[in-house]
């Protein structure tokens, strides 16, 4: 059932209304992508600092000491500075890159167009969602440069460490408070986004765009929005409780009898595990929020550039929903060693194994989509193929981590760091790159430079495998995570060369990203002009000009006649049929 918004707002005039406080979903999408690009730059710089210390822990860096005097205190980088960089790296990457670019960035720009709508259901709220997220980022940067240092409790901010203030360590005062405030604001912005996505899909689809004719990108954004809607409120609640423990004298997470640095705290009645439950109830769906859009993009791009329909479209939709649903009942696998009841761990272990099944189905379907295709190796396709490889690599280690008995050894080691980086820090990022190379011509009317894109791809693919594969080996040797250096433990000393290798690989890979940024900005002005459909793709955005006009489709409402992946249909004139291509059969409402 579709409901059409009767009157639409007029095209805006003036620079501020057009590009700053815009209610146009396309501008807002680009604003989110810009925010993500700024955030990923900060995040990468932080990881460079981390890798510098891990490879050469006792080295002094005079130039860095000049910029960050407290972090070096006249000598090598301090362990607390390392932990601050670690905390902010994780936070900025997970929230401001992986939750913004795939969902609020590309989703905002392309969801309305793909379903045939003129804009999101609530354009004003959409504008608010970006600016709220922007304020959240500003506050997070304030936390990074806070008096007393940035927080050191990790992006997971476990209690009591994050709740007790500066007596627990540097950065746990103002820095931690600003961090919590930033995250709370971010939750609000995400909720606004989620509401918009859901309403738009349910109510604003064009005539003929039944749910089962939506591209898998739209299905992924839709499901991700449901996850965001249900997960972020819990984080917001947890954040409020944590803030109250810190400044309001409450004891939600602080038990009785704590003595820190010989100071006796007067709190009582709280549970440190309660924070973990609240955080991970949000935290696990959050990582699926980070990956699901990338899975949708991968399906979409593999299909386009194999010139083949997505294999088993219905199963793909089912798998997206299954992953989304099951993601809500697995959070305890982050807590196997936490002191939680071991029976509860068994239950979470089984559900965690279960979520591997729809993920495997999607992988089989991607491979089957390639089968007997005619593959075109555009940059978008290269990154999507990389996504499949990386998703498999990151996913199979989940088979180990899902078992509590194995987690006894692997929990909080580099094995976990390897697992989540390959899935989030690489596969999800590849999804973003693939989307960017694919949709850049539509957003900006010019193609990105394919040659430089391929250079970027190869450096990045070889680079990320070089960085993160060795971390599995560190983990299997029992190397704990969040260690500023390994030099204190005899059983770890022989692993130092691996750290050096990883750091050098990281520096090269990060430097190679300059190629992408250069390509992006150069192509904005100098890229080859793109027509409406340079990739010969079928979804609705490719039936509009590049870039689309303000109201996406011009005066005539789009009408959909076909499913999203009609490639190489036997008997058809071309090897693709656009969704809006009028056909002999009746339009199904």
């Amino acid at each position: 059932m579709e409901v059409h918004v009767a009157a639409h707002h007029e095209a805006p005039t003036g620079f501020i209304r057009k590009y700053v406080f815009s209610m146009d979903h396309k501008v807002i999408g680009i604003q989110y992508l810009s925010l993500a690009m700024a955030a990923v730059t900060v995040g990468m710089i932080l990881s460079v600092l981390m890798r510098l210390r891990l490879a050469w822990p006792t080295e002094k860096w005079p130039m860095l000491a000049h910029i960050f005097p407290e972090g070096f205190a006249g000598g090598p980088m301090t362990p607390e500075f390392y932990l601050a960089m670690l905390t902010m790296h994780g936070t900025i990457m997970v929230f401001f890159v992986l939750t913004t670019a795939p969902l609020s960035g590309f989703g905002n720009y392309f969801l309305p167009i793909q379903v045939g709508a003129r804009d999101m259901a609530f354009p004003f709220m959409n504008m608010m969602s970006f600016w709220v997220t922007f304020v959240s980022f500003v506050v997070m940067l304030m936390a990074l440069f806070a008096v007393g240092g940035a927080p050191i409790a990790g992006w997971t901010a476990y209690t009591p460490l994050s709740a007790v203030g500066v007596i627990g360590g540097p950065g746990l005062g103002t820095g931690q408070t600003l961090w919590i405030i930033s995250i709370a604001i971010f939750c609000a912005g995400s909720l606004l986004t989620a509401l918009n996505f859901l309403t738009t899909v349910l109510n604003l689809r064009a005539r003929g765009m039944s749910l089962m004719r939506m591209p898998l990108t739209s299905w992924a954004w839709f499901t991700t929005a449901i996850l965001a809607l249900l997960a972020f409120p819990v984080l917001l609640a947890g954040g409020v409780l944590l803030l109250l423990d810190r400044v309001g004298g409450t004891s939600f997470f602080i038990p009785a009898g704590l003595v820190i640095s010989d100071r006796h705290l007067t709190n009582s009645g709280g549970s440190p595990l309660l924070w973990q439950h609240l955080f991970w109830f949000f935290g696990h769906p959050e990582v699926y929020i980070a990956i699901l859009p990338g899975m949708g993009v991968t399906s979409h791009i593999l299909s386009t550039f194999s010139r083949k329909p997505v294999f088993a479209y219905k199963a793909m939709v089912g798998a997206i929903f299954a992953i989304g649903f099951i993601s809500y009942v697995v959070w305890g696998h982050h807590m196997f060693m936490s002191g939680m009841s071991p029976y509860t761990s068994m239950a979470f272990s089984i559900t965690t194994m279960a979520v591997g099944v729809p993920s495997a189905i999607k992988t089989f379907n991607w491979l089957a989509t390639l089968w007997k295709g005619q593959i075109r190796f555009t940059c978008a396709m290269l990154f999507s193929l990389g996504f499949v490889s990386l998703f498999v690599t990151g996913g199979v280690t989940g088979m180990l981590l899902a078992q509590p008995a194995l987690d006894i050894f692997l929990h909080d080691t580099y094995f976990v760091v390897a697992h989540f980086h390959i899935i989030m820090g690489v596969a999800a990022i590849f999804g973003i790159f693939a989307g960017m190379y694919y949709w850049f011509p539509k957003m900006f009317g010019r193609l990105m430079h394919e040659g430089w894109g391929k250079v970027h791809f190869w450096f990045t693919l070889v680079g990320v495998y070089s960085i993160f594969m060795p971390m599995h080996f560190l983990g299997i040797e029992g190397h704990p995570r969040r260690y500023a250096q390994l030099t204190e433990f005899k059983y770890l000393l022989h692993l130092q060369p691996l750290h050096v290798f990883i750091s050098i690989a990281a520096f090269v890979t990060i430097t190679a990203q300059v190629i992408f940024f250069f390509n992006f900005f150069w192509s904005l002005k100098k890229g080859k002009p793109a027509g409406p459909n340079p990739w010969e793709s079928t979804s609705l955005e490719w039936s509009t000009p590049s870039p689309p006009p303000f109201d996406n489709f011009g005066p005539v409402e789009p009408v959909v006649h076909h499913g999203p992946y009609e490639y190489s249909v036997p008997g058809a004139a071309k090897d693709y049929i656009m969704q809006t291509d009028p056909a002999a059969e009746e339009v199904r409402p």
Binding site: M346, A405, H411, G478, S568
Partner: protein, 263 residues
């Protein structure tokens, strides 16, 4: 491009599996009874995961090369319910089997009853040290009260001087000894933030949570000196929260306790 990319994914699969098979980096030596089952399950899961990983990378690499665009027409094949059912069923069986077998070992680990002759040890973790306590000759741990904790005066765990049972408790810092081949019952506590007791060779890891007292059981099978590492971020010296973990003969252990008690 197609050949290069296909070969790269094939190489990723092959090289990674090769490194694991050659055990270039591997689990530390095993020194516990229950750890044998964990290691067996770890190897079996790695074999299954490694096979899936290898086959997937090879298949991806092969398809990339084989179906590179050469100007022909692509197929329209986009579903096969029988095939889909088969691979779903196989996946389900594999994952479920791993889940069940893994959880059986987990259940054995935490459901084994504590033998009456187990050596009782208690650790109270703090920023950034391990306080280890043995009950002494009377076999009873003295009462503790957090209000009595006074690091400056050396009462790290808040031992209550009024409780006679505590008079013979043996307390050390960052030094834990246990007798070989005897069951140990270790109670983990924390006085400030969450830490985690991890001895890699024992295959034991358990968070030490303020407000909780959590028990772990294990039996060491080999004498030697090992290390306790903290496995939960606890502050700026998390990376150097190290304890010495000594496994010795029963006779040596009793001597060690006597010597420590006299100190």
């Amino acid at each position: 491009m197609a050949l290069l990319l296909g070969l790269f994914f094939a190489a990723v699969g092959t090289v990674t599996v090769g490194i694991f098979l050659a055990k270039v980096w591997w689990l530390p030596e095993l020194i516990s009874v229950h750890g044998a089952a964990i290691d067996r399950q770890m190897v079996m899961t790695l074999i299954i995961a490694g096979t899936v990983f290898f086959l997937a990378q090879i298949t991806l690499g092969y398809f990339i090369w084989k179906f590179r665009g050469q100007g022909g027409k692509a197929s329209n094949w986009h579903e096969n319910p029988k095939l889909e059912f088969t691979w779903t069923a196989i996946t389900l069986v594999i994952f479920l089997s791993l889940g069940i077998s893994g959880n059986r070992i987990w259940a054995q680990y935490f459901q084994t009853p504590v033998p009456k002759d187990a050596v009782m040890v208690e650790i109270t973790a703090q920023q950034f040290a391990w306080n280890i306590r043995y009950p002494g000759a009377d076999g009873v741990m003295g009462r503790t009260n957090p209000a009595l904790i006074d690091d400056a005066a050396g009462n790290y765990i808040g031992l209550d001087p009024k409780d006679p049972a505590g008079k013979d408790d043996v307390i050390t810092q960052n030094l834990m000894a246990i007798p070989v081949n005897r069951p140990i019952r270790l109670m983990l506590r924390s006085k400030d933030v969450t830490h985690s007791f991890f001895v890699p060779q024992l295959r034991v890891k358990q968070d030490a949570v303020p407000g909780l007292s959590i028990g772990v059981s294990f039996t060491a099978t080999k004498t030697g000196e090992y290390e306790i590492a903290c496995a939960e971020l606890c502050g700026m010296q998390h990376y150097k929260m190290r304890g010495r973990f000594l496994v010795m003969t029963q006779a040596d252990f009793e001597q060690w306790l006597k010597t420590r008690a006299a100190m």
